[in-house]
């Protein structure tokens, strides 16, 4: 294969090749679609054991303020509807960067450290996000850490695997963040992920990531998994893919992400509004959006893909599919899409238009596969 100068690689690219990965371009990076086991086996392994994913293409951006981390959180609140002032040190939260029209620029993870905020943003958005944050967060120091790599360890055995290498990880709960020493490698670890399983994301210096990857895949019950499995895992978990399920036209309320909009930021809250697109987004929380992201169970075996049009059984236009694939866990096709308000109720029967055929689909609750994150018990 001729190397293409415009395509970037992660520090693990030699490892992927050595493992026989099928490499594909994704968001400007050459990434492993799957290893020799294939997407289905890698997916099932993650649901049963623990899998390692290279997600070093994602952007790692840190925000600090000379006035302290609360000032950085207050500044970032002007760009997202999440309640970031309530985010305690050592905790992480999901947020969306909104557009002036109330659409979504990117969906991001925000971790509150002792002295700063650490963000993970989508690979395809990271340059734009960095420019936007640098410009919009006047007075804050915004740094993109291109010298860091990111590895996800996901699956029901992820907790035991990491506990053996970093004992302190055992006490972490879903969305905790801690600086840990993992088998001698300093890592910023969050207990979160993109599969619906328990698991971690580990941010390490680029020069240390081969060692960490080798250490993790050499553990019992651990196997590498590629972006193909990552996509089917997140779809089963009902998680959105920026660019597919989220874009500048979809509001967080249409996307069924209003859980990420804190009470303090809603109408009547202590810091209501004050983010781009707040008028539309707060109105949609009150009145309901005109369309809504839903899960779709598909009759038969043929996957319905992004872009497939949906109609009601009576033939009226109902919306479109934004993500669709075969579900390895359920061994049948599943999809997500946006449908009109009238069609969004669970159990509503719709029709997908696939290659000139009409395929019956039913609005299905999300996630398709129950989430198993290690949430703190409510006492």
């Amino acid at each position: 294969m001729t190397p293409d100068a415009s395509v970037q690689t992660t520090p693990l690219t030699e490892r992927h090749r050595a493992l026989g990965a099928r490499m594909v371009p994704f968001a400007g990076y050459e990434m492993p679609l799957n290893y020799q086991a294939g997407i289905v086996q890698e997916h099932l392994h993650c649901r049963a054991d623990a899998s390692v994913f290279d997600v070093s293409h994602m952007g790692q951006i840190e925000i600090s303020s000379p006035d302290g981390p609360d000032a950085a959180a207050r500044a970032l609140e002007r760009l997202v509807p999440a309640d970031l002032l309530a985010l305690r040190p050592g905790r992480q939260r999901y947020a969306v960067l909104t557009t002036p029209d109330g659409g979504i620029r990117d969906d991001i993870m925000v971790a509150r450290l002792e002295d700063r905020l650490a963000l993970v943003v989508n690979a395809g958005c990271k340059q734009d996000d960095f420019a936007y944050l640098s410009d919009a967060l006047d007075g804050c120091d915004v740094v993109m850490h291109s010298d860091r790599a990111l590895i996800a360890l996901q699956g029901p055995r992820a907790g035991a695997v990491l506990a053996a290498l970093a004992g302190d990880s055992a006490a972490m709960r879903f969305m905790d963040v801690r600086a840990l020493n993992v088998g001698g490698i300093p890592a910023l670890v969050t207990r979160s992920g993109y599969t619906g399983e328990d698991g971690f994301e580990l941010s390490v210096a680029a020069g240390a990531v081969e060692g960490l990857f080798d250490l993790l895949v050499s553990q019992e019950h651990v196997a590498p998994a590629g972006l193909g499995a990552r996509d089917t895992l997140r779809l089963e978990a009902g998680l959105c893919l920026m660019g597919n399920d989220l874009d500048a036209t979809t509001s967080p309320v249409e996307a069924a992400l209003e859980w990420s909009i804190g009470k303090a930021r809603r109408t009547g809250g202590a810091r209501a509004g004050g983010f781009p697109g707040d008028a539309r987004i707060l109105r949609e929380i009150e009145e309901g959006p005109s369309r809504r992201r839903v899960g779709l169970a598909v009759e038969g075996r043929a996957p319905i893909r992004a872009g497939t049009m949906l109609s009601t059984e009576a033939g009226a236009s109902a919306g479109a599919v934004t993500s669709g694939s075969h579900s390895p866990s359920l061994n049948r096709p599943v999809a997500m899409g946006y449908v009109t308000r009238d069609a969004a109720e669970i159990g509503t029967r719709l029709v997908a238009h696939l290659r000139g055929r009409e395929v019956p689909v039913t609005v299905h609750k999300l996630p398709f596969v129950e989430a198993r994150q290690k949430r703190a018990s409510i006492s």
Binding site: R22, L33, I39, G228, R301, A302, H326
Partner: protein
């Protein structure tokens, strides 16, 4: 003797009946196959006409008829269990059989050595 097309199909002739499937190379490239849609038995097909849809986890692909003829049998087993195309593409993973139109010759298709040279 097997013949191969540039679209990564294999053809096996017995009299005027030709069995068609996809090569191991193609199955490997597609990855895990999860859905196959086959033509109707009795359908008259023309060379290049898209008559099979294959879905892998990642994407859909269409397969064209390699020659003119009439579909005389399809492999229902791969509709029930699409992974057979991955596990045994030249055997249990065959797609369909067609009766070749009169005067059809397979001579112009590649032999094994030529196909292997093409796929490198």
């Amino acid at each position: 003797m097997l013949k191969y097309t540039e679209e990564h199909e294999w053809l096996s002739a017995e009299g005027d009946t030709v069995t068609v499937g996809i090569t191991a190379f193609a199955a490997e490239q597609l990855g895990d196959i999860v859905f196959v849609e086959l033509p109707e038995v009795g359908a008259e097909v023309e060379t290049g006409q898209e008559i099979v849809t294959i879905e892998s986890v990642k994407a859909a692909s269409d397969i064209g008829a390699p020659i003119d003829g009439e579909i005389v049998e399809v492999n229902a087993a791969i509709v029930e269990e699409p992974s057979l195309v991955n596990s045994d593409p030249l055997g249990e993973g065959w797609f369909f059989k067609l009766r070749a139109a009169e005067g059809t010759s397979l001579d112009a298709f590649m032999d094994k050595a030529a196909y292997e040279a093409m796929t490198g």
